[in-house]
């Protein structure tokens, strides 16, 4: 009864096109939520406020959404490997303080301190979560408190560290500069996203991130060094927090130890609205890019209307709940094969 391989294939009917449709398109719907919400918010505010719908305001929103976007893409990488990072807000605050001090002593080259601080805390989180098997909530909560305390200690008796003359001028000009109408900070953010997209989709390391997120046990069984990949994911997230510090320095011109309160929650909202699934395995930088744009558009729109910022906070809360619902619905779509 030794059926040859060839004719056995004929027996089995090829999968219907329907299932390709289901997974080709539906698999991607989670990533388009970010774009959809951004468009809806932009259209709604443009309709109510004449000045909101101008190209000039688009540039304004683009110049403001950078920090949140870069933090969110960092958070996305960690959520991809089934973790998350509560310390991003405190880490970038510490990074602004240390970088401001470094730039005041060593000039522009001090800017390199920002990503360094981010990488140090990213490594700490990664090692705690992988090798010491500490749950992400506790590990990153610990480093949140550590970074917040360190930021206040690093700043001379808790005071803000003001950037010296020339360093501030350079950063300030960068903040205001734009190329063909598009603010430099937005271009900086887009470059970060393109690099992350390249790492995720085109490199073996990126594929390993998806593997560890999809099923860590299987990843180990096929020879992926799961601990190393987890540490790298947290380090990348810390690196993004460091980059955010540069953007904030450009905007405020000083290292403020108390900056970034609540940014960890907003960055998580950005990641989740951008299509990431908390159970890991799913990530799309462009979904997150537009989710961050949606959050900033909403905040700017509400600033236009002058109603209290707490309305923006409530909208953010609602969008996290909405993202939770979509997370559940898309899980259900996948399970029914």
């Amino acid at each position: 009864m030794d059926t040859t391989v060839a004719d056995s294939v004929a027996l089995r009917r090829p999968c219907a096109v329907r299932s390709r449709l289901r997974f080709g398109v539906l698999g991607q719907v989670r990533y388009t939520i970010g774009v959809a919400t951004a468009l809806i918010a932009a259209a709604a505010f443009a309709a109510t406020f004449a000045d909101f719908g101008t190209f000039e305001n688009a540039a304004n929103v683009l110049s403001l959404f950078g920090p949140l976007a870069v933090l969110s893409v960092g958070q996305m990488i960690v959520v991809l490997v089934r973790g998350f990072d509560l310390s991003v807000g405190a880490v970038f605050a510490l990074a602004t303080v240390i970088t401001a001090e470094a730039m005041n002593t060593a000039g522009l080259v001090g800017l390199a301190a920002a990503p360094l601080v981010g990488i140090v805390f990213g490594l700490l989180n990664g090692v705690l979560v992988s090798y010491f098997r500490v749950q992400p909530v506790i590990a990153t909560l610990g480093s949140l408190l550590l970074a917040r305390g360190a930021a206040l200690l690093a700043a001379p008796n808790g005071q803000a560290v003001i950037l010296g003359g020339d360093a501030q001028m350079v950063l300030l000009n960068l903040q205001l500069a734009n190329i063909a109408g598009v603010p430099v900070t937005a271009i900086f953010t887009l470059i970060v996203f393109l690099v992350v997209a390249f790492v995720l989709y085109a490199t073996a390391f990126g594929r390993r991130l998806f593997m560890v997120g999809g099923d860590p046990r299987s990843a180990a069984l096929v020879g992926v060094r799961v601990h190393a990949v987890t540490v790298a994911a947290y380090t990348l997230c810390g690196f993004c927090a460091g980059l955010t510090a540069i953007l904030i320095l450009m905007r405020t011109g000083m290292g403020l130890p108390t900056e970034g309160v609540g940014m960890e929650v907003q960055s998580l909202a950005g990641a989740v609205i951008g299509g990431s699934q908390l159970s890991g395995g799913y990530a799309n930088p462009f979904g997150v890019f537009f989710a961050a744009l949606f959050i900033q558009t909403t905040q700017s729109g509400l600033n236009f209307s002058g109603i209290s910022p707490y309305a923006a906070e409530m909208v953010m809360g609602c969008s996290i709940l909405l993202a939770g619902l979509l997370d559940r619905v898309s899980q259900r779509i996948f399970r029914t094969a």
């Binding site: 506790i138 707490y310 709940l321």
Partner: protein
């Protein structure tokens, strides 16, 4: 009656070994730090600790049933705002019940979304953190909403019975109530089973949705009591009343040896965790460390305690040998 059959014995058996390390440290601090053992200082530590303890009891219930709750910081703030607004028309008693009811309301909404809509507890409570805080801030508006002193608002948090502040007594009674709820009721036992293995709990016929919903509501009861004490202490409606409360309760539970993955934990764990954190915070103040160092030290202690607890499990393979 073997040791194993003593009523509390299974609780003691389940405490990770690292707890005793922490208890020793606390004892050392108590003995050698000048000014620590003074009655005034002890009551002060316990009074602040009591509020954290009550909120931690709520977090313990949620953690045991396999969930997590970030929204308690905002719900205690909402309680203070609702109480402060209600007291202008209603007598203090009714106003406080309105505040308490608002916390139960937040707990019920969490329960509904998590139990019946099956959403992730992490996302729901984070969303509620922002929603409730925003709502409280808008409703409170500008001027701090005062609770006039004539109503005796301060008795709940300020005065004491035979030298022991009311909040400490309430926290003690609540610890007993939590023990009974967790260890001696079928609802409490179902939380352990749900937290340990949700699918298995379903197969044994445990009413998942109802019990998970009740977990968030009963957790809100404990947080509600903490909210009332905080409101009486501050005597005003403050949208930013205690924003770090959720993180501190998680730190207390973690230091106390309650795993965040669910299925294990007890009132004793929570109490020990809270005492350790309250004492070490106080030590920092007494040693005149700059207040900022308190933040960093709390972070280091918390992670250190969790790593210490992780240690023994490295040798015993916890995975079920199903092969």
């Amino acid at each position: 009656m073997k040791m194993a059959d003593l009523p509390g014995s299974h609780l003691l058996r389940r405490l990770p070994v690292s707890i005793w390390g922490l208890v020793v440290i606390v004892a050392l601090v108590a003995l050698f730090l000048p000014g620590f053992a003074r009655i005034g200082n002890i009551t002060n530590v316990l009074r602040v600790g009591a509020i954290l303890a009550l909120a931690s009891y709520g977090q313990t219930i949620v953690l045991i049933s396999g969930g997590i709750d970030f929204s308690i910081g905002s719900s205690v703030a909402l309680c203070s705002v609702v109480t402060a607004l209600a007291v202008q028309q209603l007598p203090l008693g009714l106003a406080l019940t309105a505040g308490f009811a608002s916390i139960i309301g937040v707990g019920a909404i969490n329960g509904l979304l998590i139990a019946y809509l099956k959403l992730s507890p992490f996302l729901v409570t984070l969303g509620m953190l922002l929603l409730v805080h925003g709502f409280a801030a808008i409703v409170a508006g500008g001027l701090p909403v005062e609770v006039p002193d004539r109503e005796g608002i301060h008795t709940l948090s300020g005065s004491d019975l035979l030298g022991v502040p009311y909040p400490v007594i309430i926290a003690g009674l609540a610890a007993g109530a939590l023990y009974l709820l967790l260890e001696r009721t079928t609802l409490g036992r179902s939380w352990f089973l749900i937290g340990s293995n949700l699918a298995a709990a379903a197969a044994t016929g445990i009413r998942l949705r109802r019990n998970i919903f009740l977990a968030y509501v009963l957790a809100a009861v404990f947080v509600g009591v903490a909210g009332l004490i905080l409101t009486s202490r501050v005597a005003a409606g403050e949208p930013n009343l205690y924003p770090t409360l959720p993180f501190e309760t998680m730190a207390a539970c973690a230091v106390g040896g309650i795993p965040l993955t669910g299925g294990r934990g007890s009132a004793l764990n929570a109490v020990i965790g809270v005492i350790v954190i309250a004492v070490l915070n106080n030590a920092i103040v007494l040693l005149n460390f700059p207040a900022y160092a308190q933040l960093s030290l709390l972070g280091i202690i918390m992670v250190g305690a969790v790593i210490a607890q992780g240690m023994p499990s490295w040798t015993r393979p916890s995975r079920i040998r199903s092969l």
